[in-house]
Structures are given as structure tokens and as C-alpha cells.
Subunit: 455 residues, 2 copies
């Protein structure tokens, strides 16, 4: 709830020598990272992929990165399939009349304008829906319940997120006229969680929405009473072709331009319901502030690039990560990192294709050790904005794992707003990223598979 | 999030002797109190004053009270001024385009159908608005910011609630075309808080809404940038005359019908945005379950009456408490209590007109002592549903003060749903109320001013 206008503190403190003590990290709602999150959420707000707001956000981002001293700042546009929310509402109409807090999933198709009035069939799990006989849902709306719980590493989002990703296709295959799911989220507010669903090529897209957890509780309690349920469902959102999205790319050149670069990614687009504070203005803030902070004590050997990716959220139809890999495949990359899991503190670190660089991983772990960050044996995977370039160039990856206990309270909801970002936790991210970058961007020896050769 | 169907546990355990150990209080989402909250929120849901849902809730309540063994159960209808929400939305349009989470205040009048497009004038406090010159807001929409903080005794709602109650009239006097306030609430979710506003007789009613706390933060950050702000405001809610509301009244007769009765009140109506779980299905649940629990160990001397009041929320135009006092003024009452502050645990007790009955107050305090409940020197006032009968008959009052730290996170929002009620805390309320009732309903001597005579 900090409403003070933050002042950027120049972290590009070129006057500081390598031996000087580190600047005290700002934690009171000031500093480069806070400035970016505050600015994007206040001056742009929701910026769905393919929208004019996402376009304004690219200009805002390019201006900001130039002002911060980044070089070679450019916007690279690309086309994609957009999706536009429309009016939406739903009510239980039997056995009890109750309004429902609902939102359409991305790539939902619209209901009839006056609403779809149908029997509501209750399935406690995705498996129960899968077990329903083909054709048994003809003319009905399927409700899929489930129970995603909070986890520090966010691991519930894989399996429980599948209800959102795959549930609508399964319901359509069974003949359903529409589908409603319990939000893939861990809060208990009347703010349903949106996010993309993926209609398989062989199924007819149907209207698909999510209700909030308290509304799903209500449906479950009602279903338990054993009387037939009916719903009146209106979801007018729909896809639109030929949408313009784009990436913002900027470099902090290294001392040795012949060395493969380090690429750091976040995404600039956000869902329309909130202002994209934790998803993912914070990621863009963290990588950019850390890239600058890594310049303290002297210009690193390797170029550090930031990629503020467009269209991550609906990117199944072509996102910024794919476009980046296509356009920049000829440039040699060494290592990729991505920040797209909010603004809570970094608590663990994972590596991929770095064990062969064990000495480098040891140096990274040593740099993170004073911050209490735990090395994890799991494999780093980067994320949607870097996966294409990682695959194309077999890059090394380092994941700085943030505490995700509360992330899925906010993710894809109206509640993703600035007040949810703790300035001290945001700055801890910047400090952890800067500590890693000071090691890897000053590594003269080969990093990862391309440089080191396959092992 | 308990979705189990609760089974009523017969607390009217006539087989138990007075010497038997108390039944272990159910705290797992079962029992009379839970059953009432679960039932009202699931089978009725939102039940605004004057609506058909409130009418259904009266029938539901009368059936429930009869089934629980209450006597002389009746519904007493009365007429009032209703208020019906309509479509509503708002956006900042300058200097940045941002959608706002908004809701109309009760007794707001509608904007033009296409929205009211106007300059938005920022006032950090109600005092700042009061200091604006007359006529200075002509054609503008006033935004009133403020900062209600959580307090255990809920004391912030008096002064900060005045922004909602009085702010719109003040803005209208200055010439404003509309008014938007920061919600009188303590949460940080995109769920604005509704509630009545009161247009003074000499001012023109204007459209009046509240934005959520995160949206108010956004407006404050935008205002701090110093550029003119503009809003597009559509609030279509409006009052309607000749609405039917009503009370549900039921008795547990005492052994001595000649003694003045004890009246316990809650309210049955709720705001339309949530399902009225903490405001005030919980109150109706607590008083009714406690009245039954007070029968354990033998029928009390005095009759205990429960009043499930209609139209408390918009009751400035005539609520259930007024109607009750008019109709039942000829019946002798001894003492009134009201539960209308959620479902968190009772932590303090206050008395009014009981110091003269010091021995009785001592007995009540002794009964509450094992529960850690603190006697408070402040004066009990009952609440809106009993204030008329208290004033008419100069009744004694006992207030069992609940912990309100989180109450104004939920109050008048979509988030007022069953999952917010902790069954253990709900049952603690029942236990505390029952402990008090066993003392006062068995008091043979005079209670309060009417019985004891003025002192």
C-alpha cells in the first residue's frame, strides 16, 4: 500500500571501485526494481498480449531501459493469435439461485449472447470427468472440482493446472456445451483465476470459465445435496487473429564481445484482470536491476541481455520466446535465466548443463551461500521465454527459485497489484541475481554445452 | 472450505441432568450454529433487504427455528425503501487508462446509462473535502481517500465509515456530479466494500461508489504524479419504494411467563455482493444455538426470544429493529443482546444498566472467566436491531465483543462467504452466549431499569 512516488536510485554507480562496500540495498519502495514495478502497474496496468496496452508497455519499457543506461534497446514485433475478454457472468439457477464469481479462460469461445442455460454436471476430479462415457455430457455444462494447495516450490500448478489446460478439451470430447472449473489457485477470495486453456485440434472449442474457490465450495456443497443443478452461463470472450505482440531487448555490453552472451528473461504482457505486478512486472524489474547491479565493481567480461518478452501468457499460439529464438539464433548464447514467479524471496538454486562446469556452479553456490539459498538437485528449465533458445543452442540454465507459497493466491487474478509486492523481498531477488551474474558474466572459460562441447 | 454436509447435533439434550458433564462442543463444521450458517449461505445466499431472496430467507429461517424446537415462530412483514444494484463499472481515463474495481453504495442514484465522464478531484481525507470551496466541484467527481486500519474492537469503522456515510452528501453540497471513496475496509483485495450512504435532506443525491483498496492506492499514486485525472463512471443502482422486508421471531418459553423476557437479535438480510456469512448469518446462528444450549440443565426461568431482523443493512429508512419495537412495545422485556460482528471469538464483555445489578454482572463475569473473556468498562449498546426496544423500555444490555481484527476485510464484500467462518470460533461464541444466558435467564430478581426502577 505504499503510495509514495519512488525515486530511482542510481545503482549504476560507476564511481564505486570494486573494493568499495556494497550500496545498502533499498527496501523501502525505492530503487530500480521497485521503480519498474510501480511504473508499469501505475502507468500501464493490465497489458494483455496483442492489446494496445501491451504496445504502450513496449514503448514504456524501451524508454525505461534506455534511461537506465542499457544499450542497443530495440522493440521486435511479431504476430500472434489474440484473445479478447467480453462481458461475463454466471449463476446457479437450480436447486438454489446463487450468483457465481466467474471469469473466462483464455481461448474460450463465446456462449450465446443471452447465456447458455444448461444442467450442471459435477465432477470431483479431472479423472472423474475422463471416466464419463462419451456423449454423456451432451448439452450439459461440466463442472470440474479439484483442490490445488499451496506449495513453496509451486509444484501444484503442474498437475492441478492441467484441469484448466486439458479439462475443457476433455469435456468437449464428452459432448459438453460448456465447462466451468474451480480456479487453479490457492486463495479464498471471490476473484477467479484466468489463464489459457488449450483445445486439442480434434475437438470443438467450447465456452470455458473458472469460478473462485468460494464459489467452487458452494457448488460442491450444493452438489452434495443430491438435487439436479443448473447454470446460466455467459462468457463472451473470443480469440482474434493477427494480433501484434513484441519483445523489448536491451544489452549491457561486456568487455569481450567475442564471448557468448548471458540472456535474462521476463515477460511484459499480463492477464487483463490485474495489473501484472507479480506476473510479471516483478520479473522484468528483477532481471533489469540485477543486470545493472552486476556492473558494480567494473564492467563484466560478457554481455548481459535482458529480454522483456511479449505474449507469454497466451503464447501457445506463438510467444516472445519463440520469436526471440528465431531472430537471434545466429548469435552465440552461453546461459539463460528467467524470472517469472512473482516477487517473493529466492530460497533455492538449480542448474542445468552446469554440472560439467562444476567449478562454475561451485562459485555460484558460494556467492549465494551468505543469503541462505539452498542448492537443489532438480534440473533448471528456465521457462517459456527462454525455452526455445535453450533448446536451439543447448544453453546452460540457472533457476533462482522464489518462494511460491502465496504466488497462486494472486496469479492470473484481479488481485495481482502493486500492494502485493514487498519491496524488501523484491530487492533480495535483485541481490541474489546480481550475485549470480557477477560470477557467470565474468567467467572467461566455456559455459554450457555449446561452448564446452557435448559431454 | 469444509464441504461436508453438516449434521445437526441435538444440543437440546433433555436427557442430560444439570449435573452431567457438558457435551463436547462440536468444532468441526457441525452443530446447530454451523448448520444455520451453512444452510443460509448455501440455500439462500445473498439476501438484500426487500428482495425475493430475503423473503425466501424468512421462510427458511421460520422452518429452521421450528425444526429446532422454538415456539411461537412467526414472520412479521413491514414496508421499507429498497435499493437495487445495477450494472456498474469505472475506469481512470487520464492520465493513464486503467480499469477500476468499483461498486455502488446503497442509496446511490444512477449515472447516465453511458457513464459519467468527468475530471476526478483527489481529496486525501474527508476534512480536505470539507475544506473545498462551495461550488468548486461543479461537474467533477470527487475521490475521497482515507486509511482505515484493522482494530480488534472494530473502532475504526465509526470515524472511517463516516467517509461512506457522510462523504457523498458533502461532495454533493460542493457541487460534485458524483463521488468515489476508498472502501471502508481493511483488506487488500480487488473487492470493493458496499454499504449505505445517507444523503442529507437538503442535498441532491448523486452517484456514489467505492473502489477497492488496491484501486484507491492506484488513484493515490496517479494523483501524486500531478497530472489531471479523469474518470468514466457507470453506477446504475437506484432506490425503489414500497419494498417488503420482515422479521422472524421465535421463543423458547421460560418457566415463569410473568417475568420480562430476554431478547437476542441478529439480522437476516445481507448485502448482495457476498452470501452474508459473517454479516450476519453467523449472528443468527450464534444466538439461536446459544438459546437452545441455555436449555441444557433445565428450562430457564425467563423466556428467551430470538429476533432475526430484516433490513438492518439499509435500515435508515426503517429496519427490523424499529418494526419490532413498534409491534412488541407492550410486552415487557428485561435485557437485550445482539450478535452482528462476524464469527471470530468473543474476547470482551460490556454491560449497560447492569451496574445497578452488580451482583448479576458479577455472576456473568464469573461465568465468562474460564473462557478468558475480559470485562470492559465501556458501555454496551446492543446494536441496530435492538436499539429501538432498548430505548423504549430502558433495557439492560450485555455486549459480547468479538475479535474484529479481520471483520472489515470481509464486511460488505463479495468475500463474505462460508469459508471465512471458523467452526471452532463460531462454537466459542455459542458457548460464551450460552454461559451468559444461563445466568440472566435464570435471574429471578429484577434486571435493568424497567424492572428495578430508575436509579
Amino acid at each position: 500500500m505504499n503510495t509514495a512516488i519512488s525515486l530511482r536510485i542510481a545503482l549504476v554507480a560507476s564511481a564505486l571501485s570494486a573494493a568499495a562496500p556494497a550500496i545498502a540495498a533499498p527496501t523501502n519502495g525505492s530503487g530500480v526494481a521497485w521503480d519498474i514495478v510501480e511504473g508499469l502497474t501505475t502507468e500501464i496496468g493490465p497489458r494483455p498480449a496483442g492489446s494496445s496496452a501491451e504496445d504502450r508497455a513496449r514503448d514504456w519499457g524501451a524508454d525505461k531501459l534506455k534511461a537506465l543506461g542499457f544499450q542497443n534497446v530495440r522493440i521486435e514485433e511479431f504476430k500472434t493469435l489474440g484473445w479478447q475478454r467480453g462481458p461475463e457472468r454466471a449463476s446457479l439457477t437450480a436447486p438454489f439461485a446463487q450468483p457465481l464469481a466467474i471469469t473466462a479462460l483464455g481461448y474460450s469461445v463465446p456462449t450465446p449472447k443471452g447465456g447458455l442455460k444448461a444442467e450442471l454436471a459435477y465432477f470431483p476430479t479431472l479423472a472423474a470427468l475422463e471416466a464419463a462415457p462419451d456423449g454423456s455430457l451432451k448439452g450439459k455444462v461440466a463442472f470440474i472440482d479439484h483442490a490445488m494447495r499451496a506449495a513453496q516450490d509451486g509444484s501444484g500448478y503442474g498437475p492441478y493446472g492441467n484441469v484448466r489446460r486439458e479439462g475443457p478439451s476433455i469435456a468437449s470430447r464428452k459432448g459438453a456445451a460448456g465447462v466451468v472449473i474451480r480456479s487453479a489457485g490457492t486463495d479464498s477470495h471471490r476473484n477467479p483465476h484466468t489463464g489459457v486453456t488449450m483445445f486439442a485440434k480434434d475437438v470443438k472449442p467450447i465456452p470455458a470459465g473458472a469460478v473462485s474457490n468460494p464459489d467452487a465450495d458452494l457448488i460442491a456443497r450444493t452438489a452434495a445435496r443430491g438435487k439436479p443443478m443448473a447454470i446460466d452461463l455467459m462468457l463472451m470472450g473470443k480469440p482474434f487473429p493477427d494480433a501484434t505482440s513484441g519483445n523489448v531487448i536491451a544489452d549491457l555490453p561486456g568487455r569481450d564481445p567475442s564471448l557468448p552472451i548471458i540472456v535474462l528473461a521476463c515477460h511484459l504482457d499480463s492477464w487483463d484482470l490485474g495489473t501484472g505486478a507479480v506476473d510479471d512486472a516483478s520479473g522484468c524489474a528483477i532481471i533489469s536491476a540485477a543486470a545493472l547491479a552486476a556492473q558494480q565493481g567494473g564492467q563484466p567480461l560478457r554481455t548481459i541481455r535482458v529480454l522483456w518478452s511479449g505474449n507469454e501468457e497466451t503464447g501457445i499460439a506463438g510467444g516472445g520466446g519463440d520469436d526471440y529464438a528465431k531472430r537471434h539464433g545466429a548469435e552465440r548464447h552461453a546461459l539463460a535465466m528467467e524470472s517469472d514467479f512473482g516477487a517473493d524471496k529466492v530460497w533455492q538454486v538449480k542448474f542445468s548443463r552446469a554440472p560439467q562446469d562444476k567449478a562454475l556452479a561451485d562459485k555460484v553456490n558460494a556467492a549465494l551461500w551468505p543469503m541462505g539459498i539452498v542448492p537443489h538437485e532438480g534440473r533448471a528449465d528456465g521457462g517459456a521465454d527462454v525455452e526455445a533458445i535453450i533448446a536451439a543452442q543447448k544453453l546452460a540454465v540457472i533457476d533462482l527459485g522464489q518462494d511460491g507459497t502465496h504466488y497462486f493466491d494472486l496469479h492470473h487474478t484481479p488481485d495481482d497489484t502493486l500492494d502485493k509486492v514487498d519491496p524488501a523481498a523484491l530487492q533480495q531477488n535483485v541481490d541474489a541475481w546480481a550475485a549470480v551474474l557477477k560470477v557467470v558474466a565474468n567467467e572467461a572459460g566455456p559455459i554450457g554445452m555449446v561452448e564446452a562441447g557435448p559431454k
